[in-house]
Amino acid sequence: MKYTEELLATMYYRMYQARFFEETLKSSSVSEKINGVSHLSIGQEATAVGACMAMNQDDEIVMSFRNHAQAIASGMEIKGMMAEVMGKESGINGGLSGSAHLSDVSVHNLGTSPAPGAAYPIACGAALTQQKKKTGQVVLCFGGDGTLDEGLFGESLNLAALWKLPVIFVIENNFFSGATAIEHHFAPKSVAALAASYGIPAVTVDGNDVIAVHSAVTKARAKTADGEGPFVVEAQTYRLCGYDTNDLQLYRSVDEQKIWQQHDPINLFTTTLIQDYQMDQAVLEQLKENATRSVKDALDYAENASDPSMNDALTPVYAK
């Protein structure tokens, strides 16, 4: 497909926003102010941005728990995200959800359930609504390779295939479930083969190539919106940081990490934009600069925000 400069620029901007957002969370001055650990997706920005930006504005998105890049890619506002991760009153969910349950219905982002695999059926349900209401909208659901081991993945694929639900499962395969490499936690030959056994078409793409991800998900969306049912996109990528901010990463070699650093999705995209799309380096620099500033503003906003009060914690538990 033909990419407009505007679309390419937005992709580039959001990838950098995601990168700077997480580097900020990783920095010791911020990480010690966060309750618990955060799960960073540094190195996986191309998958999040490529997939989200292939969807229509009204499509629903259900995230995996490694969700910051996905949330930014879906159009979530980063000031509210930063304040939420820091547990502040002005956070997107008022400090009640934290980083693990970011959600924003105003951008059709239903959030995530960090219980492994638990997001898949939520996405099936959102897709069922689109099907029943004949909205023509499609649901995008992210999942990490660790969740492939859950029964819920199989149950959800089965249900989605039986009911021909308009849902696209984007599996971010970063080759590790926690500290366990994929060959030790996932027996099937491939994600695509597993999907095929349910009669669901699947493709495998380079998850560090944002254009490849975008193109694969765009095609999947077209088929799914046409009533062809669910689709699986396996995006092979790598988290350049640990499982969480406490991870010592003793389970993988420095050499392996260095090889993947050569495939940093943002660097790859920068080269592509200059060489293949003749984008002006100065324009890219400006986008990068804008992304840095937006994250700094978000951090200022969050640090100056107040903590939630006890009244906020007692916020209604039941809908009236």
Binding site: S97, N158, V317, Y318
Partner: protein, 328 residues
């Protein structure tokens, strides 16, 4: 209001039919619900009227089905899921907690999850199938839990559950399904959730019971009456959130409290009600310790004879009341 004699099962079917007709976004899903009426027979005959648009057979994937219902509820449908038994509800428990009960709170009310999960309890069939475990659900903030004890309550509460904007677990005891009682047939008949009802007035002793245990209690109350012991019987119907006020008011009046339930005693709903009374101002009005008459603390055995002795019967209730009142 027109009244008709219906079985519990027929009354639930009528509730589904009325709500599905009134709102096409109400979809019923479960195993075998289309051709076989589901595990309880309550959807029998509904397919003709509603077809697969509103009546959906599911594979045996309880956890995914509950999660799917939650996702559908969040985005605009009002799903009613029928699970075949308590053992299946336990398989689905994770999604019931994470997918259904929590998003409203942690999204600060921006994500509503209006769904109903019908869970059969009691009524035999093996140690897993026959268990009730109502307290597990009541423990989860964000879930509403109801347990009717007759046809009229079954209809009124099911309609309220479907219209409610929260996830509601609807426990229905198989032993009660074919028992008939008087049911208002109007569309408008509804029993609001979150209210305890006084089934019977009296001044001698307060008895709190629900579900199948309530049937034994009401039977016992008639016998006690003949001895001049007037039991005031309170049926919470909604176990969570629990309306304690009618219980407090009654205890204030009678000074004696007996709680009767079929489920295991340890950690059961009786413990919760008992503690709430003990913590309250009403404690000073108690003339005797609070009594609990509950199921035995063992898993449900298979043999029918053994199953019958597991749960309190009318004669056990009568004996407990006399023990509580200090009468020989």
């Amino acid at each position: 209001m027109e009244i008709k004699e219906l079985s519990f099962k027929e009354a639930m079917r009528q509730a589904l039919q009325e709500e599905m007709k009134a709102d096409p976004l109400v979809v019923v899903m479960g195993q075998d619900v289309r051709k076989n009426g589901g595990s309880l027979g309550i959807t029998l005959g509904l397919e003709e009227q509603f077809g697969e648009d509103q009546l959906m057979d599911t594979p045996s994937s309880e956890q995914a089905v509950i999660g799917t219902a939650a996702g559908a509820a969040m985005t605009g449908l009002r799903p009613v899921v029928e699970l075949a038994s308590m053992d299946q509800a336990l398989l689905a428990f994770g999604e019931l907690v994470h997918g259904a009960a929590r998003p409203f709170y942690w999204s600060r009310g921006k994500e509503k999850v209006p769904m109903t999960v019908i869970v059969p309890i009691g009524g035999g069939d093996w140690p897993q199938n026959g268990q009730a475990l109502e307290n597990l659900f009541a423990h989860i903030s964000g879930l509403k839990v109801v347990e009717p004890s007759n046809a009229a309550q079954g209809k009124g509460l099911l309609k309220a559950a479907i219209r409610d904007d929260n996830p509601v677990v609807f426990l229905v005891n198989r032993d009660l399904l074919n028992i008939k009682s008087q049911v208002p047939v109007e569309d408008s008949y509804i029993l609001p959730l979150g209210k305890s009802y006084t089934e019977r007035k009296g001044g001698s002793v307060t008895i709190v019971a629900w579900g199948a245990a309530l049937v034994s209690v009401l039977e016992a109350a008639v016998v006690l009456d003949q001895d001049g012991v007037r039991a005031e019987v309170i049926n919470p119907m909604t176990l969570s959130p629990l309306d304690m006020d009618p219980i407090f008011q009654s205890v204030k009046k009678t000074g004696h409290l007996l709680i009767v339930h079929d489920e295991n005693k340890t950690g059961g709903m009786g413990a919760e009600i008992s503690a709430s009374v003990a913590e309250s101002q009403v404690f000073d009005y108690l003339e005797a310790p609070i009594f609990r008459l509950c199921g035995l603390d063992v898993p449900m055995p298979y043999s029918k004879g053994l199953e019958d002795v597991m749960t309190p019967k009318a004669e056990d209730v009568i004996q407990s009341v006399y023990d509580l009142l200090g009468v020989d």
